[in-house]
């Protein structure tokens, strides 16, 4: 390739990525605006709180990407052409970004000293003044903090949905880095693909340095005491990544985590009575969340039952969906086991065995921003001709999609441990297998559980492209049977019924697993961890 065409390729790729970034920023802006209003509303209205929190809470653990085929089908049917497709993509990214920002807003209002409310009453501030002078400045630091996390999650959705969309010319995104990566032009050449990855990573790093970093510095000026030393920036990122997990942990067992979380504890001392209100909010999720969850499951089951009774022919569809679900389930959990085999030693090394964990974290922060699905072409090319390469590709993507959550979540939970625990190990000379058995593994178990939930959700999300990856009009890699593949095929076949049935089955399965497996597991573990 000569210099001119190389330059041309780089410029094209940069334009592609810029288009993708426009989608990302649009989604982020919408997410932030909605989150601020919904979060503040939920935090200041008792009845709204009881409805909004449990719903947000369920939505954030669903593998929403699985809904994408359905969403794109509906939106494009309503608004044909590229506007509809782009709206669908942006909508999807919003559904990945918005939940943690809402929780961030809600929590920052909940922990405001009640004196603030008294001030606004004493001085007769209007509703708008109260919003501008008290609520907005109060929520901004958490909004920015959560936005950096949302951005990383959003990138995964962006790339995955763009790649997915190219699988069907009717729904294809024209310009975007995900779309480019799945095009024959890029996948055909290692150089072009490498350049695409490079351009993407440059954009990721530039966004962090030029957008999020100044933004973080801008908002912390409100709260000087939360300002961090520069070297802890990477750790604070892990905190944010991990906070995704700890929020889930809080939901799993609210009081427990509030008590055990070190930072929460110190904050609590300062806040005194306010903590009671905070626990109240989480207890609300707990109480109403279970009810709403059961109601949702019951509703879906009733819906499915109704559909089956009125259309007995659908039983065949359901059998297909269930079979596909079983296959993907096996793949997801097999990949999760591998992710644990990688994630556990890495976490233990970072938490206990190295002094340079903040340096590694910086590297991991960049690596984890690269969505696993962007590596599909490389993996497919690398495995060409290998037996079962479709299956292996899917599992690799699942592992890469899940492993970061395990690492970041365990690191975050480890921070709630006494900082003297590594010293205990030194003083009493606990070594080798004993150290693994008595300290390392036990210390990271709570993080493994919260990380596990998010990791598995990420794997299900990846399934819609990992199980059925197309380049141009050719299928580059596919599994034998899988629910992700089923969703892809049902979209191509315009089979709305099959699509809906698959989505409903996934939803019920995830809610059941979260309620009956993860929650129980976390409860039994956290009993011990005071």
């Amino acid at each position: 390739m000569d210099f001119i065409s190389l330059l041309g390729l780089i410029i094209t790729l940069a334009i592609d990525t810029a288009f993708s970034w426009v989608r990302m920023f649009a989604a982020l802006a919408v997410s932030i605006v909605i989150s601020i209003f919904v979060g503040i509303y939920a935090a200041t209205h008792k009845y709204a709180e009881k409805i909004i929190l449990p719903i947000v809470d369920i939505l954030q653990t669903l593998p929403i990407l699985a809904f994408f085929p359905f969403v794109i089908f509906i939106i494009v049917a309503a608004i044909p052409g590229s506007i509809g497709i782009n709206l669908a993509v942006v909508f999807l990214i919003i559904t990945s970004m918005i939940w943690n920002i809402i929780f961030g807003v809600y929590e920052s209002i909940k922990v405001l000293p009640k004196e603030y409310g008294e001030i606004s009453k004493l001085y007769g501030l209007s509703r708008i003044e109260r919003f501008r002078k008290i609520y907005l400045p109060a929520v901004m630091p958490r909004v920015v903090e959560q936005s950096t996390l949302s951005w990383s999650i959003g990138l995964f959705y962006l790339v995955t949905s763009e790649i997915f969309s190219t699988g069907n010319s009717q729904y294809a995104v024209k310009t975007g880095i995900g779309a480019a990566i799945a095009s024959p032009l890029i996948t055909g050449s290692a150089l072009a693909y490498g350049l695409a990855l490079l351009v993407f990573i440059v954009f990721v790093i530039a966004t962090r340095l030029l957008f999020f970093k100044p933004l973080e510095e801008y908002v912390v000026r409100y709260n000087r005491h939360t300002q961090q030393k520069p070297e802890s920036r990477a750790i604070s990122y892990a905190k944010v990544m991990g906070s995704f997990g700890s929020r889930i942990a809080r939901r799993l067992n609210p009081q427990q985590l509030i008590r055990s979380s070190g930072s929460a504890k110190t904050a609590m001392k300062k806040r005194g009575a306010r903590s009671v209100r905070e626990e109240g909010g989480i207890a609300t999720i707990e109480k109403y969340g279970t009810a709403i969850k059961y109601a949702a499951v019951a509703l879906i089951i009733l819906g499915i039952a109704y559909v089956f009774i009125t259309n007995p022919a659908l039983m065949g569809y359901e059998a297909t969906v269930l079979r596909a679900l079983v296959y993907t389930f096996a793949r997801v959990w097999f990949a999760f086991a591998i992710a644990l085999l990688i994630g556990v030693p890495v976490s233990v090394y970072l938490i206990f065995l190295t002094r340079h964990s903040s340096k590694y974290l910086l590297l991991f922060q960049i690596l984890s921003s690269i969505p696993a699905t962007i590596l599909l072409p490389a993996i497919v090319a690398g495995l060409k001709g290998t037996p079962y390469h479709g299956e292996i590709t899917a599992v690799i993507i699942f592992v890469l999609g899940g492993v970061w959550y395990i690492i970041f979540s365990t690191m975050n939970m480890a921070k709630t441990l006494s900082p003297s625990i590594p010293e205990v190990k030194g003083i009493y000379g606990v070594k080798g297998a004993d150290a693994w058995k008595k300290i390392y593994i036990r210390a990271i178990i709570p993080g493994l559980i919260t990380g596990g939930i998010t990791a598995i959700a990420a794997e299900w999300n990846a399934s819609i492209v990992a199980e059925y990856f197309t380049v141009g009009n050719n299928v580059a890699a596919q599994v034998g049977i899988g629910v992700g593949k089923l969703l892809d095929l049902s979209l191509s076949a315009n089979n709305l019924t099959l699509m809906l049935l698959a989505v409903a089955n996934i939803t019920v399965m995830i809610i059941l697993l979260n309620t009956f497996v993860w929650k129980k597991l976390y409860r039994s573990v956290s009993k011990m961890y005071g």
Partner: protein, 247 residues
């Protein structure tokens, strides 16, 4: 006989931020030494240097005449925040203290049970630290430190996370065990910021200056035990310690 000698210890993060300037002191056999000083003077770091947990920038520590290169079984440590492993039972936490000893599991268990009993915690062997009060947690922490029969006990503000009443009881228990030779411990080095506590417990008081710290004064306290905290002699010593600290 000198159990521990700290010789010209210094510690700094960088040439600009020197925490410990130059500190030397000894702990003799049967001596209870307290290190006291303003916050930020590196008291806890100094104790960790003596324990072999932190490498000093300059100087060295000798334990029974030998240079300290890392944690040794002769010196044990009690932490301010107890540092119990929440996932292990109280008994298993104490057994952690035997890790360096060449004993069978059942022998370790026996030792740990005896030590928990000595600390007044029999009956709590199978429960977990989170059911214990702060004072009881620190008793487990102390049992863990003592189970390996250390000659030197290092304590980093061991009573400062406890409420005053609990701290009081625990202090008198500890000093009772130490002075009645119930324990194999020969010397204690304790870091504290509580002047009264230091005067009550210590045979020798090392008063550190603010950072970069050096030894501002050394006081030998030979009041009879148990000490009356309202006696004139006791209050006089406290006053003179405060006077040195205020300089």
């Amino acid at each position: 006989m000198k159990m521990v000698q700290a010789k010209n210890i210094s510690y700094s993060f960088s040439p600009e931020s020197v925490i410990i300037g130059d500190v030397s002191f000894d702990a003799d056999k049967d001596e209870f030494v307290s290190l006291i000083g303003p916050s930020g003077c590196g008291k806890s770091t100094l104790l960790r240097i003596i324990a072999g947990l932190v490498k000093p920038t300059g100087g060295k520590t000798l334990y029974m005449g030998k240079k300290v290169d890392g944690p040794s079984s002769g010196m044990s440590f009690v932490f301010q925040d107890f540092a119990l492993l929440p996932w292990l039972t109280n008994l298993d936490n104490v057994k952690i203290g035997c890790s360096m000893m060449k004993l069978s599991e059942s022998e370790k268990e026996k030792k740990a049970e005896i030590m928990l009993d000595k600390m007044g915690l029999s009956g709590f062997e199978r429960s977990y630290p989170n059911v214990l009060s702060g004072g009881m947690k620190q008793r487990v922490g102390i049992a863990r430190a003592l189970v390996s029969d250390p000659k030197v006990l290092l304590m980093d503000e061991p009573f400062s996370s406890l409420d005053e009443l609990t701290a009081e009881t625990l202090r008198s228990d500890i000093i009772y065990h130490l002075k009645n030779k119930n324990l194999p411990v020969n010397s204690v080095i304790m870091v504290t910021h509580n002047v009264e506590e230091a005067v009550e417990l210590s045979d020798k008081l090392i008063i550190l200056s603010k950072k970069p710290s050096h030894v501002a004064a050394t006081k030998h306290i030979d009041l009879k035990r148990p000490r009356n905290k309202r006696s004139k002699e006791f209050l006089d010593i406290m006053d003179s310690v405060y006077a040195t600290l205020a300089k």
